[in-house]
């Protein structure tokens, strides 16, 4: 490495919207430079994680060093492959700070999408050179000229700077390498890694400045820690696995510093954590990695968002030592009488969609308490909408709904937009008049009925019948807003019990009696442990 003069080194990254082909481009560049064997069928080589290969996405930024000869000189090109998904923008920005230029890949058919815009601005703000690369020109519907015009209009980059390629077929990829050398400036320095003798996983903090022993330096400008957008409770399936899960979470969060970790506990599920993620995909990928790489199986509870409350009660202010508190666990929700106002996190969402879906998407956003901030036509086919959305309205299935409404063509990105006043209420769930602690939920006043009804229905399906009726109610204060009933058993006795049936029946009865011992009693009602889990758990409808 050290034999390379600094002016022959290029540090660059590939950025793009999801699925526009940056990983394929990386494959081709690796092949072209002889870094990997061309004869092998190379597909998304840098996507090493199982979860990446299964989902076809890049999660972790991988790095490769390429050697390239151009006009008699040998160059060292350090390439950083990055994720395209909105949730992983933190990974993207980390990689960019180590680069001097980027290849901005845009699909020749899809054109500029939400992440294209977002990533461009990340690079632009970091003052990096941007080389636009229009990909997938081999496809039937490709319209590179249209995309060139978009790039000119939206990013103000002259059309002759666009390089048109097919990463899949390798067409014109060589020009990309040349552009990297010509248009991306060299820098004094290299990216690399070192081996440290640290004992505890938490000692290694991202953003720390390392210095030679006894030669302290000024710390480098640090990173802002990534802001979690979505919280979920994570509990071991059984308390005996707590330690395993703890160690797995510690290791995985070392690798992924954008996950925030708080210890938490639930009456139903025992000791666990409330983890903060950058988005739903981030959370799902984290969970999948936990299972695949650490063999941990967990119970995920419904994602919640960090609400805030401005306290009015002097007593509480003293107790919490501040006036404005963040509420992560619904059980901590302070009563209305002790609060001046409640606040909920909001985001500024950018949706880019083909024109024909605009109406449906606007209706979807309206249903999610969104306020339109802007609407702009990118070209004659597509419109960009900006909405101010409460975060809790998008943490569950907003993205999926958007995709299905638009047959997959709409794209979505969002950024933190602070907090806004919200009429939040605490909703209790009661069984025959007894409050169930584990199921208390914080919800916006307008959504209370829908959410309450859904919880009551899920509970109805998961509670076994008893010898008396069970009234399931959702309540705000003393007002009942939703109700379901589990009818009492009218008949529960084996029809035939003769000589040949007795052994089997006794076995069954004894097994059921054993199972009954493990039931929790709420009032007179016997509740199996998994009844609440079924209600709290994220519904997998993939």
């Amino acid at each position: 490495m050290s034999r390379f003069p600094v002016e022959n080194i290029r540090n660059f990254s590939i950025i793009a919207h999801v699925d526009h082909g940056k990983s394929t481009l990386a494959d081709r560049l690796l092949e072209l430079t002889g870094t990997i064997d061309k004869t092998k069928n190379n597909k998304q080589v840098l996507d090493k994680l199982q979860v990446e290969r299964e989902r076809g996405i890049t999660v972790k930024a991988q790095t490769a060093s390429l050697f390239y000869n151009c006009e008699g000189k040998q160059y060292l090109l350090n390439l950083i492959d990055t994720p395209g998904h909105v949730d992983f923008s933190y990974e993207v920005s980390r990689s960019l700070s180590a680069c001097q230029g980027v290849l901005l890949v845009v699909d020749a058919n899809e054109g500029i999408q939400a992440q294209t815009v977002a990533n461009f601005f990340l690079a632009f703000e970091a003052q990096l050179s941007v080389i636009p690369v229009i990909n997938k020109i081999d496809l039937k519907n490709a319209d590179p000229e249209r995309v060139v015009k978009q790039i000119e209009k939206v990013f103000d980059i002259p059309s002759d700077e666009c390089i048109k390629i097919s990463a899949k077929l390798g067409t014109n990829v060589e020009s990309v390498l040349q552009a990297v050398i010509e248009r991306i400036p060299p820098y004094a320095g290299q990216v690399g890694y070192l081996i440290a003798g640290m004992k505890d996983v938490t000692e290694a903090q991202i953003g720390d400045t390392l210095y030679l022993h006894k030669q302290p330096v000024e710390p480098l400008p640090g990173f802002k820690s990534a802001k979690p957008m979505v919280f979920a409770g994570m509990y071991p399936v059984d308390q005996s696995e707590y330690n395993n899960l703890k160690s797995a979470i510690d290791k995985l969060t070392l690798n992924d510093s954008s996950v925030t970790v708080h210890r938490d506990s639930s009456l139903a599920l025992g000791a666990g954590w409330r983890l903060g993620f950058l988005g739903l995909l981030h959370m799902e990928v984290f969970n999948q990695r936990l299972e695949q790489e650490y063999n941990a199986s967990v119970i995920l509870t419904t994602p919640t968002v960090p609400y805030k409350a401005v306290l009015s009660s002097a007593k509480l202010i003293k107790e919490y030592r501040e006036k404005e508190i963040t509420i992560i666990n619904p059980a901590q929700f302070p009563d209305k009488s002790k609060v001046t106002e409640y606040l909920e996190p909001v985001v500024l969402g950018t949706i880019i969609t083909p024109v024909e879906f605009t109406g449906k998407i606007m209706m979807l956003c309206q249903a999610r308490r969104a306020v339109q901030k802007n609407m702009v036509f990118i070209d004659q086919n597509r419109v960009m909408l900006k909405y101010l959305l409460p975060l809790n309205e998008i943490v569950v299935d907003f993205y999926d709904s958007l995709k299905s409404l638009s047959s997959g063509y709409a794209s979505f990105d969002y950024e933190d937009a602070g907090y806004q006043t919200a009429e939040l209420v605490k909703m209790d769930i009661l069984l025959n008049g007894n409050i169930v602690e584990e199921l208390v939920t914080i919800v916006h006043k307008d959504k209370a009925q829908t959410v309450g009804k859904a919880i009551c229905e899920r509970l109805k399906d998961s509670l076994p019948r008893q010898l008396f009726e069970i009234a399931i109610q959702a309540a705000i204060g003393s007002k009942i807003i939703a109700r379901e009933t589990v009818k009492a058993y009218r008949k529960n006795v084996l029809a035939k019990c003769y000589g040949g049936d007795i052994t089997r029946k006794m076995k069954l009865l004894k097994r059921q009696a054993e199972g009954k011992k493990k039931l929790r009693k709420i009032g007179n009602i016997e509740v199996p442990k998994d009844a609440f889990i079924k209600v709290l758990k994220t519904q997998t409808d993939k």
Binding site: Q466, L467, C497, G499, I502
Partner: protein, 442 residues
């Protein structure tokens, strides 16, 4: 229907054997009092059927050809062996079940009964029941069974609706069944039982009650009502699972049961067990043995038994099951005299649990005297009187605990299996806490 000569001859021989038996009984007529362990009911399993009903998961086989003689010989052998093994001196009832026992020859029935009578005492008035399938039982055949020693019939009617009968995969029509019923009543007045099913897929309460009412106009003094239980592996289960048939509605089934039993009560029937109704005292003494935890010997492939093998010096009551597959069973019987596949000794607590679970299925429940025979140290009040949960059930009127004993109320009987989930653990606790009996010589 005229019979081939050989068979007629065999039947006549069987009838004569039965007559001999009755005469012998009539003679020395003062049976010594017999203790519990010297008595047993006898169950005989005929495993063959013409076809498999869509809901059935019993041990039954559709054979290509039945070697009746071989089967008969094995049933006889096993009956004798097990009777000797059990040391039983008096057989109080015999039940021919299956399969379709009415497909067997009356000669086989006679042969088994004769063997029993020779090995132990079989009182002349002991209940001998044969399960009957309407298709395979024309009047003349029923008469032949009667001559062979059968004195009670249980007819698998199941439904009076032909569409339902097809759904169940039965081989007869409603008319066939009613005709068989009428003929049976003529031959065995007051001794005929019919089975009716409820809770079939798509069945409605009104139409089912009308079936019951029609049946009431024509039936004898005993009825069994059985809620359909969909068993995994049956054709009916598969059809429901596929969505070809609706899942039976448990609410509707519960209503049918409640309305049905009330109707039968008004018609003068005593619901003496969860599914069994009788008037004029026409209870099944054989089945009563099961619920009272008496001894019973199971003969034939897959038959179950519970008895103390006193004849072999055993002291503990055992749960036994005979080899399921008929051909294998026959081989074993020929080699060893019986084809017992499994024997498990029942512990004291296990037996008490059975006494509790079976006894509560009857209307009289468990009397104090009955309980004492199995558990001399702890009374029912000792076990259940102090339990808060049990008291709640008593307060709710589902259970009764009084000077007679412990039993379900009318409402409680319908939800017995839920009650047992409270009662069984309570019994376990009480039994484990009981002071152990002093060690002799200690």
């Amino acid at each position: 229907m005229t019979l081939p000569g050989a068979r007629a001859g065999a039947w006549a021989a069987a009838a004569r054997a039965a007559q001999r038996r009755r005469r012998v009984e009539g003679a020395g007529r003062s049976p010594r009092p017999v203790t519990r362990s010297q008595r047993a009911a006898l169950y005989v399993h005929w495993p063959y059927c013409e076809k498999r009903c869509s809901y059935c998961n019993f041990n039954k086989y559709i054979p290509r050809g039945v070697d009746e003689a071989a089967m008969r010989s094995c049933l006889v052998t096993e009956a004798q062996t097990l009777l000797r093994l059990s040391g039983v001196q008096r057989v109080e009832s015999v039940f021919f079940g299956g399969g379709t026992p009415s497909l067997a020859s009356p000669h086989t029935v006679a042969a088994v009964l004769e063997a029993v009578a020779q090995t132990a005492h079989l009182p002349a008035d002991s209940e001998v029941t044969l399960e009957v399938n309407p298709t395979s039982a024309p009047a003349s055949r029923l008469a032949a069974f009667g001559a062979a020693g059968v004195n009670r019939l249980s007819i698998g009617l199941q439904s009076l609706d032909d569409t339902e009968l097809q759904l169940l995969g039965r081989t007869h029509s409603a008319r066939d069944a009613l005709r068989t019923l009428a003929e049976a009543r003529r031959l065995f007045p007051g001794r005929v039982s019919v089975d009716l099913m409820l809770g079939l897929p798509a069945q409605q309460v009104g139409p089912w009650l009308r079936q019951l009412e029609e049946l009431l106009r024509r039936c004898d003094d005993h009825l069994s009502l059985y809620q359909l239980s969909l068993e995994r592996g049956t054709a009916l289960f598969t059809r429901v699972q596929r969505g070809a048939l609706p899942t039976p509605d448990p609410e509707r089934a519960a209503e049918m049961y409640q309305e049905g039993r009330a109707l039968l009560r008004e018609a003068g029937f005593r619901q003496y067990e969860v599914s069994n109704f009788a008037r004029h005292g026409a209870l099944s003494t054989h089945n009563w043995t099961y619920w009272q935890c008496g001894q019973y010997i199971g003969v034939g492939p897959g038959a179950h038994g519970r008895f103390v093998p006193q004849g072999a010096g055993g002291l503990a009551r055992e749960a036994r099951i005979q080899t399921l597959e008929p051909d294998n069973w026959m081989k074993e019987v020929k080699l060893f005299g019986h084809g017992t596949r499994k024997r498990v000794s029942l512990g004291e607590l296990e037996l008490l649990e059975e006494v509790l679970a079976m006894g509560l299925r009857t209307d009289v429940g468990i009397t104090h005297q009955h309980w004492q025979q199995f558990e001399p140290q702890l009374t029912l009040r000792d076990v259940f009187g102090a339990s808060e949960e049990v008291n709640r059930l008593l307060e709710q009127g589902l259970l009764l605990l009084d000077h007679r004993g412990l039993r379900c109320s009318w409402e409680g009987l319908a939800v017995l299996d839920s009650l047992l989930l409270t009662l069984l653990p309570r019994l376990q606790e009480a039994w484990q806490q009981k002071t152990p009996s002093p060690v002799p010589g200690g």
